[in-house]
């Protein structure tokens, strides 16, 4: 008899067979299109998992607007899971979700209760979130409220997805605003959110990290994340690392988009991530079609299959990213107490400070640059527990053109390779 199925065990089984799980960020407003999309993802070449990406109205808790938009026939940017009745969602998933095809709900809500209730009622077990990462990048909810909402959210998920089902939660902390956040802080936030989930009763996790500007630095980051998770998460917790294909401004050309996607698939395999969330060639322009999603999954799966997994043994190096992430985690956890409270204190004091983040609960004194070698670094450290930046001359004033050049740097590099 086999162990009951779970999102994490599905990923572990694929990894044991040498395969990287690839997954889209796909979401459509209507059940018909959503089902068609999942069917095609399931049939795609490669080891695939399915996704319901939720629309913006549901994310901000405006269920009235989600309902009105559906009634008008307006196109939504995701699936309104708390508006379609549970029976409709169950029907759309019927015959699709299976031991070899789990479906995860991805949203971005600092008030996740209606979404968690809806996904559990539809028979789903796996979702994504975080007290910090589903708050600071996603609106105006005070961090204090988001921490409380996510504590309750974890407990609710555990309660509504009872054994033999296994609730699974993925951190979004390894992504935050998608770009220009140095890897040490992303790794630290992902680990801290994983600890928060575990503290609130979730026994199966995935820890995210989003591809940034430099492959070498990114590989250090994924290894640092795996090492810190092994050192800090309670032994009873099952976890894997999930890599996100680049989350900032994406290349505008198809060739550039494909190259960046392939680079992320190679990075995932080489650094020991078990799952990859892909981006499509439509990313820079609009919501991708089903066909574009399937194409991206197959390109990523093929690139992964051609990449050698890492040789065992190089995991314990004290890389720059590892040391920086450990300094953040140490500063946050030093005072003891619940992780949620420690996170609030750390943001209030500016020990954690996400660059370019407008949220009022973020200190806003840090700044980052892409250095001449392509690595992402701090140019201002504010009150963070890091050595002050040594610099020759002043940090140049931020200008509109300067910001645009920085957020387009990766896209430009991949669009312009001959």
């Amino acid at each position: 008899m086999s162990a009951p199925q779970s999102f994490g065990r599905f990923v572990a089984r694929a990894a044991a067979g040498g395969g990287l799980v690839v997954q889209p960020r796909m979401g459509f407003g209507t059940p018909r299109l959503m089902r068609a999309g999942l069917e095609r993802v399931r049939a795609a070449a490669g080891s695939t998992a399915g996704t319901l990406t939720i629309d913006s109205y549901t994310r901000v808790g405006d269920l009235a607007a989600a309902g009105a938009a559906l009634a008008e026939g307006a196109a939504l940017n995701g699936y309104p899971i708390a508006t379609h009745p549970p029976a409709v969602t169950r029907e759309l998933l019927d015959g699709i979700t299976a031991a070899d095809f789990p479906v995860q709900v991805r949203h971005g809500s600092s008030r996740p209760e209606p979404i968690i209730r809806a996904l559990a009622a539809a028979g789903l077990d796996a979702t994504e979130g975080g007290p910090v990462s589903y708050c600071l990048p996603y609106g105006r909810t005070p961090l204090r409220e988001s921490v409380d909402n996510w504590a309750r959210g974890c407990e609710l998920l555990a309660e509504l997805v009872p054994a033999p089902r296994t609730p699974h939660l993925e951190t979004f902390g390894g992504c935050m605003l998608g770009q220009l956040c140095p890897p040490g802080l992303l790794v630290a936030l992902s680990v801290l959110e994983g600890l928060f989930f575990a503290e609130h009763g979730i026994g199966e996790l995935s820890l995210s990290y989003a591809q940034q500007t430099d492959a070498g630095q990114d590989a250090e980051a994924v290894r640092a994340l795996r090492r810190l998770a092994a050192e800090l998460l309670p032994p009873r917790v099952e976890w894997h690392v999930v890599l996100y294909t680049y989350m900032g401004v994406y290349p505008g050309t198809r060739a550039g988009a494909d190259r960046l996607l392939e680079a992320s698939a190679r990075l995932a395999v080489r650094s020991g991530a078990r799952r990859l969330i892909v981006k499509t060639a439509a990313e820079a322009h609009r919501i991708p079609t089903v066909a574009e999603n399937v194409r991206a999954l197959e390109i990523a799966a093929a690139a992964a299959a051609l990449t050698e997994p890492p040789a065992a043994g190089d995991e314990s190096a004290d890389s720059e990213v590892y040391l920086e992430a450990r300094a953040f985690v140490g500063a946050v956890l030093d005072g003891g107490g619940p992780v949620g409270t420690a996170l609030r204190t750390a943001f209030a004091r500016g020990w954690l400070d996400v660059p370019y983040c407008l949220h009022p609960d973020n200190a806003g004194r840090s700044r980052s640059v892409i250095d001449p070698t392509g690595r992402l670094r701090w140019s201002r450290t504010g009150s963070m527990p890091l050595a002050p930046v040594r610099r020759s001359g002043r940090v140049p004033e931020l200008t509109a053109d300067g910001l645009l050049a920085a957020v387009h740097a990766v896209a430009r590099r991949y669009d312009h390779v001959a």
């Binding site: 913006s56 109205y57 994310r59 901000v60 405006d62 607007a65 938009a69 307006a74 196109a75 939504l76 940017n77 971005g108 990048p137 996603y138 609106g139 105006r140 605003l177 998608g178 770009q179 401004v249 439509a282 322009h285 609009r286 919501i287 370019y356 983040c357 407008l358 949220h359 931020l398 200008t399 509109a400 910001l403 645009l404 957020v407």
Partner: protein, 152 residues
Amino acid sequence: MSLPPTGQTVLVTGTASDSHTWNLVYLQLFVEELGYRVVNLGPCVTDDLLAEACRVHRPDLVVISSVNGHGYRDGLSAVTRLRRGPGRSDIPVVIGGKLGVLGERSPEAAARLLAAGCDAVFDDADLDALREFLTRPAAGARTAHRHAGSTV
């Protein structure tokens, strides 16, 4: 290069369902460099919050930015609230970004925005047009006048 101060205030805002902020950070710098003082309301601004901010800050222009694909719908609701709701206002309003989910301009949706009282609807590549709108003489006064005539 920055232009000399105009002495005018521009209110930059996201829409009710849109959490994106890089667009807002960028637009703030862009508009400031044209000599305006900017009040940046940030993301997920409800229609009432926008109306209240207009009452408090009395801006010379409102720039609405949306990239999440709900912009036509959310923008329409915001402008309608501003022009017709309590404390109705004639402050010029422009909107731009990635307003729909199809990656192309919807002429019908843009026409609805204009009919509801938007002074201009820009696409995501229309930064030169926005610059022109902001630097032509007495832009604010002229658009406000047009609306004074149409709200009777």
